[in-house]
């Protein structure tokens, strides 16, 4: 039984390698084309309705060519997660996502042993032990025989890969998105270091697992800045800060995401949102809220903003009652301002 297991563990490798080789060349070409210049990245992302600015495109460009992870920071809702997904779509590779939270540990992020199977295996081993040790004389010989069939207990057969390891094993490369890394614990950050600097993971029982050197995963980490990320982690990453967009860019984004919105309404709602961001609010509306609002207004068959409508739909863009209350008084003024620009 153990021999059979061993054989199965070893067998797939020689078959898998030529396969990978064959698939390799056209993919590389394609990806290189997409990431050859900053303009290509710009237009590639724009084709997927993700409007990037100079910094964002440069970050993706450098991440690919320097093999460095990108740490994206910025207020919630400016498209940090979306960037990783769009890049994966653009390159036609899978996006493996690891959502961080307090208490996340290696068993959820890197790997886990299949304990049930391992237990079963020991049971089976116990039953077949007699056969294996057949003919052995004395303890020394039995132990020697036991050593002969290798250590299958901790082998890849019993390994359950989690996102980080899956990303390394992805032969065609992938985008690895480590979302909201600031929500995880300090210890978890240290776990990430090896992965981020050398694209490898060490499993004490097996050894080191490395990524395909020609197709290292593109790693994006996002953070909402709820706590300071350690210097060690920052040092290994490119740092990209995505702020709230200016009116022009925001208008482009709305146009790309919700093309049904007429130009005039788009200008009005962008002006309104930009004005809101200047106010002292608990949570200012982000791009995602602008897009939601635009969709809501389309559903309500709106052609132009008016104070009553804005009051009714404020809860789409503002997420705190206090904010809604403080803005309600100003709505008339803000709406007039937004309308005036036309």
């Amino acid at each position: 039984m153990p021999d059979a297991l061993l054989a199965r563990a070893v067998q797939p490798l020689p078959v898998a390698l030529p396969n990978l080789f064959k698939r390799g060349s056209p993919l590389t070409l394609d990806r290189d084309e997409h990431l050859a210049t900053i303009e290509a990245i710009h237009s590639g992302l724009a084709g997927l309705n993700y409007i990037s600015n100079e910094q964002i495109a440069t970050a993706v460009f450098l991440a690919y060519h320097l093999d460095k992870p990108v740490l994206i920071e910025g207020p919630p809702g400016v498209g940090k997660t979306e960037l990783a997904k769009s890049v994966a779509d653009m390159l036609g590779i899978s996006c493996i996502r690891l959502q961080c939270y307090e208490g996340l540990d290696e068993s959820k992020a890197i790997y886990e042993w299949k304990y049930g199977k391992q237990l079963l295996y020991t049971q089976v081993l116990k039953e077949t032990l007699g056969e294996i040790l057949d003919g052995a004389k004395g303890l020394t010989e039995s132990v020697a025989k036991l050593h002969e069939f290798g250590d299958v207990f901790f082998s890849e057969e019993f390994l359950e890969p989690r996102p980080l390891m899956k990303a390394l094993k992805e032969e065609a490369g992938c985008v690895l998105l480590i979302d909201e890394v600031d929500k995880s614990d300090h210890e978890f950050e240290s776990l990430l270091l090896e992965m981020l600097s050398d694209y490898q993971l060490s499993i004490p029982e097996i050894g080191t697992i490395k990524a395909n050197p020609d197709r290292k995963p593109l790693v994006f980490l996002t953070s909402n800045n709820t706590r300071e990320i350690s210097d060690a982690l920052k040092r290994r990453c490119l740092h990209l800060y995505i702020p709230f967009p200016d009116a022009d860019l925001e208008s482009q984004i709305v146009q790309a995401r919700v093309p049904e919105v007429p130009a005039e309404l788009r200008r009005q709602l962008v002006t309104f949102i930009q004005a809101l961001r200047e106010m002292d609010l608990k949570k200012v509306p982000a791009i995602s809220e602008t897009i939601d609002w635009a969709k809501a207004l389309i559903l309500l068959h709106t052609e132009s903003l008016d104070a009553d409508l804005v009051k009714q739909t404020l809860n789409v863009i503002l997420k705190f009652q206090e904010d809604i209350e403080s803005v309600t008084g100003e709505v008339q003024m803000l709406t007039n301002k937004a309308l005036k620009g036309s």
Binding site: T58, A59, L62, H65, G103, Y115, L238, Y241
Partner: protein
């Protein structure tokens, strides 16, 4: 150029942007890839590799603009500049035009409103018969382009290590040093020599060189001043901060309060980030199957020693009772500032102050 990058990193460090040697190496590797031609790309690349939080990005922005901008040093003409200056700036704006400012007709007529007309005429008429200057600096001043001059100045600055400037009073010294490095002595000699010569063209050239020299001195002074702000100003601030940290609270003067507030804020932030994530493992919480299985393997896989996992985040609660009466006002001012900074970061800060009665 590597030296320039290292210098820039030094500037960032004095401006309190933490840059590790590894990051400097990363920058070198990245620059090999992106090159220097595209300024925006160069800046974005550096920004991504060196500045790693929003505050640092801001600092980076100002440092970068100060460090990598030379043009305005050279473009700002000194008041009452000679026609040469105008010609020269024309040559700079139109980069493709010839390098020889004497052959530039555009500069003559426009000749700068503030310039002395008679002087301009003088220079104009002398254009044909002035001999070329012999000293290296003289040649550079009259025949070189602005960028040549700028490069020479920067090189001289590097040679005399202008980035070591520490206090304001050293400005004169460094200006002189840079001028010397650029070959002031030879120029002086040439000027004296030509002034004494009988030929009118020679004398005119001497006058020209003299004007150019004075202008150069002003420019070098500007350059040194910029370098001072870049390298020493922050350094001085650090020195002041160090000093303030050690000084007795009761001896603080009113003018220092702003600096103190900054320091206090930094201290509070450090304190909070250290303590906000203390973990405690409890005898309750989620069953840690992995640990339990592993641990119980020694008992033949029978679970009788269960392991739990639970994390408790400990956020500090700060409660403060403070005496604000006159005798301790200096100390309490510091403490209240500290608490105020803390309150911006930790949600639960409650302070009570009293001089005779207690109030919240």
């Amino acid at each position: 150029m590597e030296k320039t990058i290292v210098d820039f990193v030094k500037v960032l460090r004095t401006a309190e942007v933490k840059v590790s040697p590894a990051e400097t190496l990363d920058v070198m590797a990245a620059i090999e890839f992106v090159g220097y031609e595209d300024r925006a790309l160069f800046k974005n690349t550096l920004s991504m590799l060196l500045a790693k939080n929003p505050e640092e990005k801001e600092t980076f922005e100002t440092c970068f603009e100060k460090f990598f901008t030379f043009d305005d040093v050279m473009q700002a003409p000194v008041a009452g500049g000679s026609p040469d200056e105008a010609e020269d700036s024309d040559a700079f704006e139109d980069e493709n035009s010839g390098n020889n400012p004497q052959g530039q007709p555009g500069g003559k007529g426009s000749g700068q409103g503030s310039g002395n007309p008679s002087e301009a005429e003088d220079a104009e008429s002398g254009n044909e018969d002035t001999p070329p200057p012999t000293s290296a600096l003289g040649q550079l001043l009259l025949q070189g382009t602005r960028s040549d001059l700028m490069v020479a100045m920067a090189e001289a600055g590097r040679a005399v290590e202008v980035n070591q400037i520490v206090v304001f009073t050293q400005k004169g010294l460094y200006t002189r040093k840079i001028m010397d490095q650029m070959g002031l002595k030879a120029l002086q000699e040439e000027i004296t020599e030509r002034q004494e010569a009988a030929d009118r063209g020679e004398q005119r050239l001497a006058g020209k060189l003299k004007r150019a020299r004075d202008q150069l001195r002003d420019q070098v002074r500007d350059y040194v001043e910029k370098q001072f702000f870049l390298h020493a100003d922050e350094h001085g601030k650090q020195l002041r901060e160090e000093l303030l940290k050690k000084v007795k609270l009761s001896n603080l003067e009113k003018r220092n309060h702003k600096d103190v507030q900054e320091i206090v804020f930094k201290m509070a932030k450090k304190l909070v980030s250290i303590h906000s994530k203390r973990r405690k493992t409890h005898k309750r919480g989620q069953l840690d199957i992995r640990k339990t299985l592993r641990h119980n393997m020694q008992y033949d896989g029978v679970f009788f020693d269960l392991k739990w996992k639970s994390v408790k985040v400990d956020r500090p609660k700060v409660m403060c009772i403070c005496d604000v009466s006159g005798s301790v006002s200096n100390y309490s001012r510091f403490l209240l500032m500290f608490l105020y900074s803390l309150a911006e970061i930790i949600p639960k800060v409650r302070s009570f102050a009293f001089s005779s009665d207690l109030a919240k």
